[in-house]
């Protein structure tokens, strides 16, 4: 292991072997070999914060260890640009927002600046999310293969924003979505690749009980009471107020505590306002703990998830919801809304419990708090489900398969 740019220990490919098995690593090596000689340029909007940067941070070194020449770049943009792209993000999720022509102009202007400043050197360009999507303009000049990776649920987008972005998306060779119901009808090939978690990252690796206790002490929490935990950015789409409401229903009959913990991302200017609202709503209730956790506190997040009795993710909209896989990997019973990519991770009553309403969430939490054996069974199933489908090695494999599929049209491909 050695350290990445944040001082986190970086895992080697062979470190995953005890978790996923020797054959899985062998397969990755074979796929990488089939891709030898190709250069992959990965482009997104930030190195820090949010699920995309988090997974790329771990994935790019693994690509390199496999012998795949993958390099990671980000586009540059002002705060105003990221406010516009945040509006795009919300609009693609279906949220109404005022987006002016000046906003579109700013987006195009920043794209033009990046097109001029950035070096484009790859055989395959792997572009993540809407922020850098318009870089596809370069394709006319240099050709090569271009893949757009969409981490957002664009099934019910704001038509104005989708229409604007669509003109760029259709120029790509392929698009990747996290779930079938996230996709739009497009005239290009579309693949499904679920995001993943890194089981060896600080956020997911096994940690000592003493560390968990010290984190609980730091935040004034006690392990004497059952703990209901939601870990996510302070974002309206994560419905933190709905979680408080559900908790209050549960709290009437069961002595427990709620922890709402999350951070902010550099491309999310709304977070502060949401955090204030949540704090106001929680005021006066000593069993509700609202914790603002900076992005570097992965070990603390890990500790909070491991300390949880039940993990909740009551999102109103969700890209994929990596926090679900994080909790399942720790063997925790999870209650989550049946939105976005969550049903892919939770098969209702087999690997967790799905809910649709505040009342449904409260009912499911009560069920799990009062039936610990059932909760443990769900947790075990959930962990295995994540091992099979949602670890970083699975995602790595799927990306390699997409790159290999770009030049082939048959349904059964012999490598």
């Amino acid at each position: 292991m050695h350290n990445d740019r944040h001082g986190q220990s970086r895992s080697r490919l062979q470190d995953y072997e005890p978790i996923v098995g020797k054959s899985c690593i062998q397969q990755l090596r074979m796929l990488a070999e089939a891709l030898s000689g190709k250069v992959i340029q990965i482009i997104n909007s930030t190195f820090i914060g949010g699920g995309v940067a988090e997974i790329l941070e771990h994935m790019v070194p693994l690509f390199n260890q496999l012998g795949v020449d993958a390099r990671w770049d980000i586009i540059k943009g002002s705060n105003e640009f990221f406010e516009v792209t945040k509006k795009f993000h919300n609009a693609l999720h279906g949220k109404q927002d005022t987006i002016s022509s000046a906003d579109f102009d700013l987006y195009l202007e920043v794209t033009r600046e990046n097109l001029e400043e950035m070096r484009f050197f790859a055989d395959i360009f792997f572009i993540h999310d809407p922020q850098p999507a318009a870089l596809i303009a370069k394709k006319r000049e240099i050709g090569k293969k271009w893949v757009w990776r969409c981490h957002i649920d664009v099934s019910n987008p704001d038509e104005q924003v989708w229409g604007f972005l669509r003109q760029f998306i259709v120029q790509y060779d392929a698009a990747i979505f996290s779930a079938p119901n996230f996709a739009q009808s497009l005239p290009i090939r579309q693949f499904m690749v679920t995001p993943s978690i890194d089981p060896l990252s600080d956020k997911n690796k096994d940690i000592d009980r003493n560390l968990i206790e010290s984190v609980l002490t730091k935040y004034g929490l006690t392990s004497d009471k059952p703990m209901v935990v939601q870990i996510s950015r302070f974002d309206r789409l994560k419905d933190p107020l709905g979680v408080i409401e559900a908790f209050e229903m549960v709290r009437k009959s069961i002595d427990c505590q709620l922890v709402l913990a999350g951070g902010t991302a550099t491309d999310d200017p709304e977070s502060e306002a949401v955090l204030d609202e949540v704090r106001k709503r929680a005021e006066g209730n000593p069993d509700i703990h609202v914790l603002l956790v900076p992005p570097e506190s992965d070990l603390e997040i890990n500790a909070l998830q491991r300390a949880a009795t039940v993990v909740v993710q009551k999102s109103l909209k969700e890209g994929f919801g990596l926090t679900i896989s994080e909790a399942l990997w720790k063997g925790k019973p999870v209650v989550a809304s049946a939105v976005g990519g969550i049903p892919l991770q939770i098969r209702n009553k087999l690997t967790g419990l799905l809910c649709y309403t505040v009342e449904g969430a409260a009912y499911a939490i009560r069920q799990l708090l009062t039936n610990p054996e059932y909760a443990a069974w769900l947790g075990r199933n959930g962990r295995e489900h994540v091992r099979q489908n949602f670890l970083i090695t699975s995602q790595l494999r799927n990306y390699l398969l997409v790159f290999l599929a770009l030049d082939r049209s048959e349904d059964v491909i012999y490598l």
Partner: protein, 457 residues
């Protein structure tokens, strides 16, 4: 002089008589002892006894000559100082003879064992010479001690040198000795298929003076120090079984989900699209649950059944669709027809079905398969079953599910190979009749392994 002889003739004759008498006793003793020894050797299997007889037969007589001389001198009228000198000379001759016998014997015994380990041949001269030198040095030391020379410093020096050498080459020495033991016991031979307690297994391709080389089933060479091999628990399956006319190469298969952009929000739309989508889509939706949740439950439902029940609330139709046994269908086309006709039958009775909620439509997904060769190749059933225990579940899935239905081979790959290349129709049929959809993938693997192991027991 003559007078002296007349007076003292007894002083000469008695020692001579004693000398000849001892020699005759020696001749008789050698004949008797060696005959008895030879009779005993005939009953024993150890070839070393013969070497001992050959090496000691002549020196045995020399030792009696020395003994006769010794007694003759002591019964003679020689002075004490002359007798003491003669004792030392005789002792020296005896030590030289015994040392010579030991060197000859060790040479022959070493060659006997080294000949059984071909890879020791290059080191034969080295080993033999080292032994010769050691024994000669020991003989010289004893000789020096006999003549009263100070040997303690030399012994200490030699002991230290030997200790240092033994410590430095401890592992080599251990491996060498273990190699000899392995060769003598003949428990493991080149060509045997063995399995170590660490789980590594393969065919023994070489045993040399340091290590044993094992070729694993994925082609890797495992080098095990002889001492470790001797200390660990090893299962030896012996020589390979009947060789297949063509080896079985294990493949694995990875799949990628390609979105078609097609979706259905009602039963009618579902039925229509099922008849139109590519076979890869039907294959995906009848095998997806199995692939993603294979560890949870056997008898996985197909995606159509799950959606019809969970989203449209048509539990009766859902149950019927779930009851379709994919194993009954030789082709995807036949499977597709059955699913579509079942939905259409339902629609003819209940034309006004429910519609899915927005966002909960049925999305048609296509399965792209990437088939890759693994390094595993089986030449017989033993190798086959050992590989089967090691390959990924994707590989098992490919050979048991994908090849049968998607690649239109009608039967799983294992059955085809066992029948065509090993001629074991009975075992092939047993595997062919195994409905893989009734098992979790882990259980399916165990079941096949049990069937084959029972056959090769």
């Amino acid at each position: 002089m003559l007078d002296w002889l007349k007076q003292n003739w007894l002083l000469i004759v008695v020692p001579l008589l004693v000398f000849f008498a001892t020699y005759i006793v020696g001749l008789w003793a050698r004949r008797t002892a060696f005959r008895a020894f030879e009779r005993w050797v005939e009953k024993s299997n150890w070839e070393g006894y013969r070497l001992i007889i050959e090496a000691t037969r002549t020196p045995f007589l020399h030792w009696f000559l020395i003994l006769g001389t010794f007694i003759a001198i002591h019964v003679s009228a020689l002075q004490s100082a002359q007798k003491a000198l003669a004792d030392k000379v005789l002792a020296s001759l005896f030590i030289i003879s015994v040392t010579w016998v030991c060197i000859t014997l060790s040479d022959r015994l070493l060659r006997l064992y080294i000949d059984r380990v071909p890879r020791l041949h290059p080191s034969q001269a080295l080993i033999v010479n080292a032994t010769r030198i050691t024994l000669a040095v020991l003989g010289v030391l004893i000789l020096l001690d006999t003549w009263g020379a100070p040997t303690t410093p030399i012994v200490v020096l030699l002991a230290v040198a030997i200790l240092v050498a033994a410590l430095s080459f401890r592992d080599t020495l251990m491996n060498f000795i273990s190699g000899l033991q392995l060769a003598q016991s003949e428990q493991i031979k080149v060509g045997d298929y063995i399995k170590l307690e660490t789980g590594e297994s393969g065919h023994v391709v070489d045993i040399n003076w340091k290590s044993t080389h094992i070729r694993s089933l994925d082609g890797n060479l495992i080098i095990v120090p002889n001492s470790r091999l001797l200390q660990s628990s090893v299962t030896n399956y012996g020589r390979p079984l009947k060789k297949a006319s063509r080896p079985f190469r294990f493949y694995t298969r990875l799949h990628l989900k390609e979105l078609t952009g097609l979706k259905a929000s009602s039963l009618a739309e579902l039925a229509t699209m099922i008849t139109q989508v590519p076979e890869s889509v039907i294959y995906y939706h009848t095998h997806n649950f199995l692939e993603e949740h294979h560890f949870l439950t056997p008898e996985p439902a197909n995606d159509f059944a799950l959606w019809v029940s969970d989203e449209l609330g048509c539990e009766v139709l859902g149950e019927k669709l779930a009851s379709i046994d994919t194993f009954d269908f030789p082709t995807i086309s036949a499977l597709r027809t059955r699913i579509a006709s079942m939905i259409n039958e339902h629609l003819s009775q209940y034309p006004d079905g429910q519609k899915a909620r927005p966002g909960r439509e049925f999305h048609f997904v296509k399965s792209l398969s990437f088939v890759l060769p693994t390094p595993y190749i089986a030449h017989d059933l033993r190798e086959f079953v050992e590989i089967l225990k090691q390959v990924s579940l994707e590989s098992l899935f490919y050979h048991m599910f994908e090849s049968r239905l998607r690649l239109k081979r009608g039967v799983n790959d294992f059955s085809i190979w066992i029948e065509e290349c090993l001629g074991d129709k009975d075992l092939a049929d047993r595997l062919a009749n195994l409905d893989p959809y009734n098992y979790t993938l882990d259980n399916l693997r165990s079941t096949i392994v049990q069937l084959i192991e029972k056959r090769i027991k």
